[in-house]
Structure formats: C-alpha cells, structure tokens
Amino acid sequence: MTNSSSDSRALRKFLRHKPAVVASFIIAAYAVVAMLLLFTNMITMDDTLQRVGPETIPGFSSVQNPEKRLEDAEWLLDRIDTLAGREDPRAALDSFRDLGVRHVAEIPIEDLQQRVEEGWEIYDRLAEVEDLTAAVNGTLNSPDAPTGEVVLADLQQLELKLDELLAPMTAKEKSTRWFEMLFGTDRQGRSIFYRSVYSIRVAVLVGLITGLLSVTIGTIAGLLSGYFGGWVDNLITWLYSTFASIPNIVLLILLAFMFDGGHIDEPLNRWTGGLLKWLIGGRLDETLIPVYIAFTATFWIGPCRVIRGETLKIRELEYVQAATVMGFGRTRILLRHILPNVTYLMLINFSLLFIGAIKSEVILSFLGLGVKKGPSWGIMISQSKVEVINGFFWQIGTATVLMFFLVLAFNVLSDALQDVLDPKHV
C-alpha cells in the first residue's frame, strides 16, 4: 500500500466500482452545500426559524383541500386586519415578516382596509358552506346549497384578493419565494426547504468533526498500544475496555447528558483561556461541543481496537524487523513503516463513523440531548411526529430523503473502500 503503483491500482479498482464513484459525487455535492452554508449567507439560521407563511403547507404547490385554503386565507386576512388596526399601522405592517420574502402592499391604509373588508365578505360567504369539500365535488345534498363552480370561483377570488394585499414580487423575490415554499411549511409555518437544507451543515459538521477526532485519537492510541506493548498497551486496553463495556447508546446518553448545558465545556473553556471556543466555535458551532465530545468519546474505540490489532500483526513482519535491525528510531518506524499500512483502516473507519454520527444525532435529538440551536434532521424528524398523525408528511419526508442519500452514499462508499482496500474482511 505504500508504493505508488499499488496505490494507483487501488484507485483504478475503486474507479471501476461505479456505484462508489456515484456515491463519491453525491458526498462531494453535500460537502459543497455544507461549505456554502458555512462560509456564505446563502441560508442563515434566522431563515430557518422565521415563519414564511401559514402552517403545514404541502410542498411542490400541491393542490390542497378547500378547507385548508380557506383556513390559510383566514390566517392572512386576520393578520393584516389586526396590523392595519394598530396605532401606527404602517410600521406594524412593515415589520410583518411572517410571509418570508413577501411584503404587504405599499398602498394607503384605507385602501388596504377596504381590500381586507372585501376579503372578509367572500370569506364569510364561504364559511357558511357546511362542507366545503363536498360542495366543490358537487356531492352536497341540499337544494339551496351553492354549486361547486360557485364555491371554487369564490375561493379563487378570495385568493386573488389576498394577492392584492401583498406587494408584487420582483423576479428575484419570485425565485426566492419558490424555494421557500418548495417543500412546504412545518407546523410553525417555517420553510421546510430552508430547514432541511440548512441541516446539511449540522450533519456534515458533526460527521466530519467527530469522524476526524475519533479516527485520530483511535489511530494514535491503537498504534501506541500495538507497537509498544507493555504498560502502554495495558493502559489503553483497559481504557477502551471500560468504554466498550458500557452499551454504546447508554454511554452516548450519559456523556451527552454530562456535557449538556455547559457544565463541563464552559469551565474547561475558561480554564484554558478560551482555547476550546477558539478551536471549536464560530463557524464550527460551539453549541455542538457537547455532541462532539460525547460522540468522540464513544466512537474512538472502534478504530483503536482495529488499528491495535493490525499494528500487532505488522510489528512482526520482516520489513519492520529489518527496519529495527537497521537501527531506525521507533518514531520513524511507527510513522514511516506502520502508519502508512493502517491508513486504509482509518479511511474505512472514518466512513463508518460518519454514518454513525448522523444516525446517532437523530436519536439524541429525539431525546432532547442533541442539537440545541437551529434545525437538524434529527430535530425535524422528531418534530414531525405530530404532523404525521395528521397525515402531513412533508417535513419527515424531506429530512429523511436528504439524510437517506447522504447515508446511502457513505454506506456504498464504505463497502467499496472495504472491497478495494481490505478484501480479506468479512
């Protein structure tokens, strides 16, 4: 694995594995989005927390039932009516941000109130209809009931009136609005598109940071333990046996609880003169420190155990013994002769831990111990519990689909890496 010809052979073998190549591209795409979210203001945290319209609007501008359309119309009429009745209606209307990029029309308040009044008139007519859906379908069995066409025309007219209450959109606003409403809104009227895409940031951060930290710590511990043996080995084996003998999820919950609420990381940060915050903070999100620590403390065991075993094997190989005989220092042997031969294990383990981190985040968030600030797929899935009971699948669906492709890509990649780099593995 050390010389370049076998490296390129592994690479060629990998490139022949078509699903793995596709998976790499998918992962790269997620990484690009995550970088954009981290380093630009494409979508901000505020966007994900801000209401953009009525609650539980389905995505892809799907047709809704008449009752829901009427309900949404009532919501907007009521909001604008209340705001227009305030002492300083203009200021109140200007600060109205519950419609995402859309704004209330810049027309005199009297005109606005006039339009709201007209809206209410149509609304009242529709509200009197006993069963709107039945009326639209023409299945209402009553002689003086309005026909389906009349009801539909009324609804459309009402929605047109609502549109007149709002300022016309520029082309740019129109495209922003399209994205805002692409996957609909959740139970608090927030954009599911913003929330689910913004969650890529959390997923990649958690996967990347805990993956890198765990693999680094695990590799160092495994190498030292396997190569030096003796008390170093005893110490490290004792340490990982201890962590490994507590069921994974119990340890995760215990650690997450321990670090939750800044009981440890804040004193630690003060004590080190803000080092922790400087290392992990700002863009790397210091509110995620408890999650990073809990995951790393749980996940380092896997790579450590595997790399220790491999180092024990490599240590006895002729070329390492030859290097020892030639008088190379132990550090040099470890770094130049052993480390390059375990890098494939580091790669495979990183890929597996990335999946583990994303999936565990969902479980921790469900238990209220995970992500604290802003959305994540775990939070979205847990929150959609109530929506699912009401037959609204857009939030859970979007979060699951976005998570599914990332995890699937990593699953395929891990398999391919294992096939290419570690064919003996079962």
């Binding site: 215990l254 609880f257 469900f366 238990l367 209220g368 998570m403 995890v407 699937l408 079962v426």
Partner: protein
C-alpha cells in the same frame, strides 16, 4: 479452560471498577438536589436534602456502598424518583417489558436474516442476490426513528382505521402489566408488543442479512466445499449440511454478543411507545438525575456485557476445536 475463564474474570475486575467509577463521576457533574427542591429552598433545605439522598457523604463512601450492592447483587438502595421502591424492585418491574420486545425480536431477526442470507448466497452474483443486498443497504440508510414513526402511523393508526378494529394499541396501557400469564400471551403481547417487535425486526434485518451473507460467501470459498462438490454432494446438501454448520460459528458469536442488549431493551422503541422497560427507565433516570437507578442499571448492563463477551470466547472454543483458549 477454567483457568482461562478465571484469568479473564480477574483481568476484567479493574475494567469493571472503572466503569462504576466513570458512571458515578459522570452523574455527579450535575447537582441532583436542585431539581428536587422548590425554587425558594433555603440552604438548610438543600443540606437536609443532601443528607436524605446520601450525597453528603464523601465520594469514596458512596462508591463503597455502590460496590457493596454490586458485589452482593442486592440492589436495595431506594430510588429517588420512586420513593419507597428499591432499585432492585424497579429493575424487576422493567425487565419483563424489555424482554417481551428484545427476545422475540432477536429470534425472529436471526431466523429471517439467516434465511435471506442463505437465499442470497445461493444465488450469489445473480440479480436476486444483488437486489437483496441493495435493499439491505437501502434499509440501513433510513433512520430508526423514521421506521418507528411510520410503523406507528401505518401499523397502529391506519391499519386500525381500515379494519375498523384496533389490532395494535398505539400507546402502552399501564393496566396491562397486571395481566396474568395466559392473558399476557393471548391478548396483551400481540396487541402491545408485536408492532414494536416487527419494527425492530425490519430495522435489524438489513445489518444482520449483510453480515450473515458475507459469512456464507466466505464459507462457500473454502476447500471443504470444493471437496464436497467433487465427491458429488448436491448443492442443497452442501449449503444446508456442510456450509450452514460451519457458518454457525460466527452466527453464534453474533447472537451471543447481542445478549446484553436484550436486557438494555430498545431505548428508542421503549421511549417512543411509552413501554416501561429498562431502556426507557434508564433514559428517564438519566434525565431526572436518579443516581441509584442509573448506577445500578449500568452496573448490571456492564456485568452482563463482560460475561457475554467471555461466553462468546468460550463457546467459540467449544464449537470450533481449532480455537484454543490461552
């Protein structure tokens, strides 16, 4: 072999002690007193509560009393969340519901996934095998929580609506814990436990099938298979008699390794469906800071975990004469 077992046990003593220590220290990061007193509690109240809970004692004394409980296996400390109940009582109350889910799940998952793995290995490299492997990977890429939410929606809510009859209960009813044995198997288990069991079988199938298939595929490349083929044994005989027998070694290992998780229960399933099992109870105790329960539960989990690891190695040696315990 006994020497080996004793040596392994001795080796695990420091590990076990450090687990107890780790859990106790991790819990003590937070002061449990404040959650258990009203907002306007005085210093005297706080001091009294500390004495009541026994956390005024020096740490080594607390550790000692925990150690004594573990060593004598009598968990007689009083739970903080359930006054008047000892940890042992809480444990024996919770173990039943947990086992009602995990035991059937383990049996069903193992049987189903071995069957699917055999089918997959039989058609190795062909469309059916590739399809099954692909479905397994797809299934592994969806969050457990999503399976639970949709499992409940379609299994309990929609199914009941379509049939007009409550096949599965959506939430656990505490009254069912008083049911007799006969009633338990005929009406309580199918109604309250079958759905969570089915969900956990579906979730676990992907992982297990892939593992068992890999085992079978590896076995099928061995020399004894070539020999058996050469002497004219039929393919089904080779698969079910020769191969399955040898594949049993890793299968047994994998099953024994999951024994501790029978006792921990499924955290997510239990807390979602409100099943009062070990996992659910532990999460509740961690969150409310019920030290006696968390400490004793984790002590039991770790003991079972270490024991089953040891058991795996011993079984391995018993099943495979080539493996020597040293």
């Amino acid at each position: 072999m006994w020497a080996y077992i004793l040596r392994r046990l001795a080796y695990n003593v420091p590990v076990y002690l450090s687990i107890l220590l780790l859990v106790m220290l991790a819990l003590r990061v937070r002061d449990p007193v404040f959650g258990r007193l009203p907002k306007n509690a005085t210093t005297a109240d706080i001091a009294q509560k500390r004495v009541e809970l026994g956390i005024d004692r020096p740490f080594h004394q607390q550790f000692g009393s925990q150690l004594k409980q573990v060593a004598t296996a009598t968990f007689d400390e009083i739970s903080w969340d359930y006054p008047g109940q000892t940890v042992g009582e809480v444990m024996s109350r919770c173990i039943g519901p947990s086992l009602s889910i995990t035991l059937p799940s383990l049996v069903l998952t193992t049987l189903f996934s071995i069957t699917v793995a055999l089918i997959s290995a039989w058609f190795r490299g062909r469309a059916l095998d590739k399809g099954l492997v692909f479905v397994a990977v797809l299934g592994m890429s969806v969050s457990f929580l999503v399976y639970i939410i949709f499992g409940q929606y379609y299994g309990a809510y929609k199914l009941n609506e379509w049939l007009g009859y409550d096949v599965f209960a959506i939430y656990y009813n505490p009254e069912v814990s008083n049911a007799g044995w006969g009633e338990f198997f005929t009406s309580v288990w199918p109604r309250y436990y079958l759905l969570p069991v089915l969900i956990s079988v579906v979730v676990a199938m992907g992982y297990d099938t892939r593992f068992y298939r890999a085992v079978m595929v590896e076995e099928s490349a061995r020399d004894y298979i070539v020999t058996a083929t050469a002497k004219g044994a039929s393919q089904s005989r080779i698969m079910f008699i020769h191969m399955l027998k040898n594949a049993m070694i890793p299968i047994i290992t994998r099953v024994v390794i999951t024994i501790p998780f029978l006792i921990t229960g499924s955290f997510l399933l239990e807390s979602y469906f409100g099943i009062p099992g070990m996992g659910n109870q532990l999460i509740v105790a961690v969150e409310s800071g019920d030290f006696p329960i968390v400490q004793s539960f984790t002590a039991v989990f770790a003991a079972v975990y270490i024991a089953s690891n040891l058991l795996t190695d011993v079984l391995y040696a018993l099943v495979d004469p080539r493996v020597r315990l040293s």
